[in-house]
Amino acid sequence: MLALRLARGAHPLVLLRRLLVAAASAGVGFLLLCTLGYAVGHPGESQAALTRLAWCVLPLAATVHFAVAVARTDPATRPRPGLSAIGLGPARLAAVAAASTAVSCTLGSMVALLVFLHLRGDLTGLPFDGASAELLGAGRPLPLAAALTLLAIVPVVASTTAALTLRPRRKAVLDDDPGTAEPAPAAPPGGLPWGVALVALGVAVETYASRGGTGGAAALPLPGGLGGGPVGVLAGWALTAVGLAVAGPGLTHLTGRLLQAFRPGVTRLLAGRALMDEARRIGRPLGVACAVASATIGATTLYGPGGAQPFGPLTGLGAALVMTCTTATLLTAALESRQTRVTTKDALLRLGASASMLRMAVGVRALALLAVFAPLTWAVAELAALPLR
């Protein structure tokens, strides 16, 4: 109830973020239900149905990532001394955050179910009745328990992850006084060597695996086409993507370090140091976004319009979900970083820093990240696509 009451009084932008989570959850729920529809419609092709289900993991992961990022930036779940004094401390607020996430995701799942039933032709009286009846396995009864289980996946996984991420660490509980406690910055992230190693390993595995294949796009069909492509190539892509995500924070930290090196002026100093401190918060979603972008560039090169296998509607929906969620997560992380730096910004303004100087520092930061990550993403995408051409 408290989660709902807090949601009612929230800022429209906060509500919009939750609505986006609900929309993403609806998309994933719809994809899962489509998989179920396919399995019901094709009882003999269990392998293909399982492959479709496995591909749903990507949008699911992107949605959960986004839902957790939104829960972290939710002002209602930030520890407040007044609420802590009446017993609503960090632990209870984590529970509130989990409840809010569960509510948003359940709303999305409900919408997914309604849209699915409508497009299948089970609910009538609206336009596009049964528009995709064939695709969604109409005419056969839908197993209720299976549908509900699939629809419960997003709310359960997202709220559990949000609760685990926001659970109070012991130090945070002890340092309850924001006035005198100066939070120690996190240690510099050390994932860069691991990330580079994983990217290299991924490219190597992919090159090795693609030698035995028929070559070209046919060797790696997307879920719309289905079929057994070389597993090694997929594993290589996955390793490359994980490598980019792991390297993200370390690379962000390195970018910040380079930015503030060699006798910096005030703008470069503030921009670089802030980037070094925010490396974990910004770097991880940035790495994931780069991994998704590089995979998208690679896939577009191989399966672009006019290619042998154009995207199907469900593949398109899944890809759009993953891209939107990773971009939204990155923007939400940037927002979180901005929220945590409000006091610093106020202190700088009090010292006489002009607002334009602070904006320039933000711009320099963004440009530096773009200058490092854009070529990297392009290079990794080209390397990953090279053996498959």
């Binding site: 120690a184 910096p264 100093l269 006489g352 820093a353």
Partner: protein, 242 residues
């Protein structure tokens, strides 16, 4: 509009201000002479911080005038007030408010760098002031590695490094133990006197106010001659059944 007396570096007349309807200042007038240390004393909630914020141009009073060196602060645009604060004023608050990602010397040098001073000159001035305030040892440490008293010293060094005409110190020793607080305050007043910096020191502690040349007492947003809080009044109130 009446021009202020010539010998006052800062002059305020009949300041009124309220926070969302709650009255904070009710007709406060004040003159500060050049080079003096003026304590603004009063219990919590008496309007000390609001007065300092109005005088430093961070707040525009609802009514009344503020003049700094014959320039009307109350009619300035926000950009002019921002420039005035950057070029002529210094501020030390109850919390050090250091930039967490910068080291102590970088924090101290920041106001100079914001004014366009070269990095080398800003660094040398910052290290010099940190030495004077007994914080030279922690120049290369970041705020999280410093003790609260050291952080407050860095904040004072940051406020003094630009050699402001006027330093506003709002309860600068509030979060410190008495020994630390007394030492920090002694260094602050000694530095101000040796460089003829005018200081406005808000405090609720009579011992702190005793370090000043003059004291202006505030009570419930009004200037009074002295503040005597009667402890027995609270006891009477306790006998009421609520």
């Amino acid at each position: 509009m009446v021009a202020p007396p010539d010998n006052d570096v800062l002059w305020a007349r009949a300041l009124h201000h309220s926070h969302n309807g709650s009255p904070a200042l009710q007709g406060v007038s004040l003159g500060v002479r050049e080079g003096e240390i003026l304590a603004v004393s009063g219990p919590r909630g008496s309007g000390k911080t609001t007065l300092l914020r109005c005088l430093s141009g961070r707040l525009v009073p609802r009514e009344g005038e503020v003049w700094f060196n014959s320039a009307p602060v109350h009619t300035m645009t926000s950009l002019q007030r921002e420039r005035l604060r950057r070029d002529r004023f210094g501020w030390v608050g109850p919390q050090p408010d250091l930039v967490p990602e910068l080291t102590a010397w970088e924090n101290t040098a920041l106001p100079l760098m914001l004014r366009g001073t070269s990095r080398r000159a800003a660094k040398s001035a910052a290290l010099d002031w940190l030495e004077r305030l007994d914080a030279g040892d922690c120049a290369r440490l970041r705020p999280h590695a410093l003790l609260q008293a050291q952080r407050q010293r860095v904040a004072i060094a940051r406020a003094l490094v630009t050699m402001p005409s006027l330093l506003f110190a709002d309860e600068p020793t509030a979060p410190l133990h008495r020994a630390d607080g007394a030492q920090v305050l002694r260094t602050l007043t000694a530095a101000a006197r040796s460089h003829r910096i005018t200081v406005l020191l808000a405090t609720h502690d009579p011992d702190v106010a005793a370090l000043a040349d003059r004291t202006a007492h505030l009570l419930d947003g009004r200037r009074v001659n002295s503040v005597h809080l009667n402890g027995a009044e609270g006891r009477d109130a306790c006998s009421l059944s609520v």
